[in-house]
């Protein structure tokens, strides 16, 4: 018999906002434990993503105000400042290998959005 090891999750879920607070196919920023987190309501695919709100290019806190979309199949967001784009799944910058943002676990239940830290 094989044994399966389950890594212990040490995630604390924080209530972030109502589903209706985040525009469909757009983003909004929440403040959780002094951290700015961008939440994206990818309504077209029925998916939700959470990432840093700060763009690593010039440390601007506005990724939540960026346009989302896709490159091939990869869901992405474009920074409003200089249009660097980041994968919403991995946080990898798609236009400049140098940059990466953090992504966070996100859960939607009963009309409420939770972020895991």
């Amino acid at each position: 018999m094989e044994s399966i090891v389950i890594e212990r999750e040490e995630i604390t879920w924080h209530l972030a906002c109502h589903v209706a607070d985040v525009p469909a196919d757009g983003g909004a920023c929440v403040l959780i434990e002094d951290r700015q987190i961008a939440i994206f309501n990818y309504a077209r695919r029925g998916e939700w993503y959470a990432t840093d709100n700060e763009c690593p290019h010039r440390q601007q806190t506005a990724l939540a105000r960026g346009m989302i979309g896709s490159q091939g199949d990869e869901p992405k967001v474009a920074c409003p400042f200089h249009k660097k784009t980041f994968s919403l799944k991995t946080g990898q910058c798609l236009t400049d290998a140098e940059y990466r943002i953090r992504t966070y676990p996100i859960r939607v239940e009963a009309g409420l959005v939770y972020i895991g830290l």
Binding site: A24, D25, R65, G66, P80, F81
Partner: protein, 841 residues
């Protein structure tokens, strides 16, 4: 193991040309089975781009200048010895010995030792603070010395000298002098008149030029303090760069008993063999056809000739074209063919515009058929075209002066059609010796249809970059020839051009992005197609851009109806039609700015910009402004910005019409209408043109009889004057023509294309535009006017709607879960008595 029968090639000199030789050799298949390659370089660094050496001062690092990274040599099996010059060639034993004592035997030697700066024997040249300008080390010395110098000079007003002088200014010296012995600048490339124009342009940049000056002595103690000239005059300077010409590095060849020229240079034949057939010399150390070619392109061609020879192919080095285009920042200078041609067989046409600092000269055969050469100062845009005409002996048009004056009617744009008529062997990229045929082949057979792909596959555009516009035209031309209409599709999500999509959206009455994407696109959209569709929807229906699903498809600025700035704050620009404003309104702006702590500035568009507003404050700020009677100025939108006015006949003693009233009327009419790019306008009250109407997308100038209407002008990075569309028309006609013109632009231009660029790309140019807008040859004028009227009727101030609509207003927060809190990352710094955004890293 097999005995090694490889031929051993020793390359002496790892400069630009020595490197190019290696690159071309290893590009051959099986080269490694036939040759072993050893390279000796005297400098401590791998070969770098000396042509762009000056960029070292503007922040390019040595690594960035390197032609290939240091690992490249080992990766390709090339043995490289840097900081180790060859000091001896033993032709008997066929060995070379390096400074460090390394002995390597050879079958062939390639001398690519380049040249050094020629330093005339002026007493005092050994003093501290006297430099030459050739290597990265030289520049390092200059840079560190310049930090404590105020006044600098350069001896030599040639290509390099001028570049060095400009570098001194860029290094922060207060004065930079150019001292030239000859009566003119760049004596080898341009004539006296060209030099005069160039001189005034350089002086405008801040350089001081001294001609006819023979430097006799460099004065000072250990360090230079000044220069004394043969005419008795003197100049105080703290540093000096000598750029009096180059001296081929032939000392090693001379010691080895190879033939050299008394005035310098290793003598070579058409195969670039020295007097010893196993020893080749190429680049700036070689004297071919009785001359030293002091440019990189002929050196590269020489490298190609030797590689061919080593592979047993027949290829000769032919006399090389020495046409040049200076890359002096700020002033265009070019000379091509025989710039000085004179005499009975030759006719010379010159054009001079002192005010604009332009001088052009072309020399043509007496029968007017062929272009022999020429000079361009101040505006070298036609250089590529003229060079091609000259080299390919293309038959000239009946009025050869058109070549330098351009087609004055603006009837046609030379662009792509011109380039396709060149012969196949026309050299497009002279740095890499790439012909039109080679590029066309890559485009046709290997599917390289972008500059980046062509750079990779042919190396075109990788040298001086001067051929990039030509290559772009070639791509367009070839694709067009193949019947491949170059489709301007929006992006991976839409297989349509903007114009096609606009028609589809209109016919189908679509008003949301989701609707457009579902019906005509694929995937989930992106930052390219979203704003383009947003613009189409706005241009068709003029509904509030933040309603339905449209907020999240707007570009950064439109999304929050304000321009986003460094730091993440926004600016507020209320509309001030025609620049006319009452004292009461000025007071309100002042009060609002004070209350919300905003930086205020008068813009270049005759209105006031309030900077540094927090996202949360925007609706409150606008609420107060709207209460005072202001409306959105659309400074954030691809829409009408300002209609600049001059005061006109109401006050001005020259004014012939009331330009302010007309400007206000025009601005009120077209405000809020979205277009492919922003629109600017101006109305001047007389021909003195104080409103700069001719630099606007549409400009109106008063005449005694009415108004002249100009269209498709542009400021910005590529300024272009507007062209006359109609003369002496009354106001009503002017508005009608404008309705048609603007709507035609809105419906047919590509995304983010200003009217000037749109016209430049339009087949038939202004003649066609006139035919459509004025003469209505397409029979669409009535429709265009109707569509414009619909947009005008649908106008509403979008900020007013946001202020009054709680649902829209709610979106203007930074933290959705803490709406009152402002972004703590926003930071300001004090600036004079106001503030500014904190500099980002």
């Amino acid at each position: 193991m097999l005995a090694n029968t490889n031929k051993r090639v020793v390359v002496i000199g790892n400069g630009m040309v020595g490197y190019k030789f290696c690159e071309k050799l290893i590009a051959r298949e099986n080269w490694a089975q036939r040759f072993t390659l050893t390279v000796f370089g005297e400098e401590p660094r791998v070969a770098y781009d000396r042509v762009h050496l000056s960029e070292y001062f503007s922040g390019k690092t040595a690594d960035e200048l390197a032609l290939a990274p240091d690992t490249w040599y080992a990766e390709h099996g090339i043995q490289l010895h840097l900081s180790d010059p060859v000091v001896h060639i033993d032709r008997e034993r066929k060995e070379v010995r390096s400074h460090h004592g390394l002995v390597v035997s050879y079958d062939y030697i390639l001398l690519a030792t380049g040249s050094g700066a020629f330093v005339p024997a002026i007493p005092g040249v050994e003093k501290e603070g006297v430099f030459v300008y050739r290597t990265i080390e030289d520049l390092e010395f200059i840079q560190s010395y310049a930090s404590k110098a105020r006044r600098g000079a350069v001896v030599g007003g040639g290509l390099l000298g001028l570049e060095a002088a400009k570098a001194l200014l860029d290094l922060g010296l207060h004065e930079a002098h150019v001292v030239e012995f000859a009566p003119r600048l760049m004596p080898r490339q341009i004539d006296a008149a060209g030099s005069g124009t160039l001189q005034s342009q350089l002086e405008a940049l801040g350089l001081t030029v001294h001609l006819n000056k023979n430097t006799q002595e460099i004065i000072g103690g250990d360090a230079i303090e000044g220069m004394r000239f043969a005419d008795g005059s003197a100049l105080d300077v703290d540093m000096l760069i000598i750029s009096a010409g180059i001296r081929p590095r032939d000392e090693l060849a001379k010691r080895a008993g190879l033939e050299t020229h008394p005035r310098g240079g290793i003598v070579v034949n058409d195969h670039l063999q020295t007097s010893d057939p196993d020893i080749f010399a190429i680049g700036e150390c070689a004297l071919a056809h009785q001359m030293i070619y002091g440019l990189v392109a002929p050196g590269y061609e020489m490298a190609a000739v030797v590689v061919a020879r080593l592979f047993g192919e027949e290829k000769k080095f032919k006399p090389f074209d020495m046409s040049t285009k200076l890359k002096l920042i700020g002033v265009d200078v070019a000379s091509f063919g025989n710039p000085f041609a004179e005499g009975p067989d030759c006719r010379t046409v010159t054009y001079e515009n002192k005010a604009k600092g332009i001088y052009k000269r072309i020399n043509i055969t007496a029968d007017g058929k062929e272009l022999l050469g020429g000079i361009l100062v101040g505006d070298a845009e036609q250089y590529n075209g003229l060079l091609q005409t000259c080299k390919n002996k293309t038959i000239l048009p009946p009025d050869p002066e058109d070549l330098i004056l351009g087609l004055r009617g603006g009837e046609e744009t030379a662009g792509a059609a011109g380039i396709m008529s060149l012969p196949d062997d026309a050299l497009i990229c002279s740095c890499e010796a790439i012909t039109k045929a080679a590029i066309c082949n890559e485009i046709t057979n290997n599917g390289c249809t972008t500059i980046d792909q062509l750079k990779k596959s042919t190396k075109a555009c990788t040298g001086c970059g001067g051929c990039t516009p030509l290559v772009k035209d070639l791509i367009q031309g070839v694709l067009k020839q193949q019947g491949l209409y170059v489709r301007n599709v929006l992006c991976e999500h839409f297989d349509y051009s903007r114009q096609e999509l606009l028609d589809l959206v209109r016919i189908n009455g679509l008003k949301t992005y989701g609707g457009v994407l579902n019906q005509f696109g694929k995937g989930d959209g992106c930052e390219v197609c979203k704003p383009a569709v947003a613009s189409i929807l706005a241009s068709l229906w003029n509904e509030n851009i933040l309603e339905k699903d449209r907020a999240t498809i707007q570009d950064s600025n439109d999304r929050f109806l304000a321009n986003i700035q460094k730091g993440g704050t926004y600016s507020v620009v209320p509309r001030i039609p025609g620049g006319e404003i009452t004292p009461d309104k000025l007071i309100v702006i002042g009060q609002v700015a004070k209350k919300y702590d905003l930086y205020t500035k008068i813009t270049g568009g005759q209105r006031i910009d309030l900077f540094g507003a927090h996202l949360n404050d925007l609706p409150k700020i606008w609420e107060e402004l709207i209460d005072a009677g202001f409306e959105s100025g659309h400074a954030y939108g691809k829409a009408l910005r300002t209609v600049k006015s001059c005061v006109g006949s109401t006050w001005c003693r020259y004014g012939v019409q009331d330009s302010v009233s007309f400007a206000v009327e025009v601005e009120e009419r077209y405000k809020g209408i979205r277009s492919p790019h922003k629109l600017k306008s101006g109305v001047s009250g007389c021909i003195r043109e104080c409103a700069e109407a001719q630099s606007k997308d549409f400009g109106i100038i008063a005449t005694e009889k009415g108004w002249n209407l100009y269209v498709c002008g542009n400021g910005g990075s590529k300024p272009q004057h507007a062209q006359l569309l109609a003369t002496d028309i009354d106001k009503e006609t002017c508005i009608r023509l404008l309705d048609r013109f603007l709507m035609f632009y809105i419906k047919t231009a590509d995304p983010l294309t200003r009217t000037a660029t749109w016209l430049n790309k339009m087949e038939g140019g202004i003649t066609y535009l006139k035919a459509v807008v004025v003469d209505d040859v397409l029979g669409i004028a009535a429709e265009l006017e109707r569509e414009m009227q619909t947009l005008i009727d649908n106008y509403a101030c979008e900020w007013k709607e946001v202020v009054e609509n709680p649902h829209l207003r709610k979106r203007f927060t930074h933290f959705i879960n803490a709406p009152e809190q402002k972004d703590p990352a926003v930071q300001f710094e004090p600036l004079r008595t106001q503030k500014r955004a904190k500099e980002w890293k």
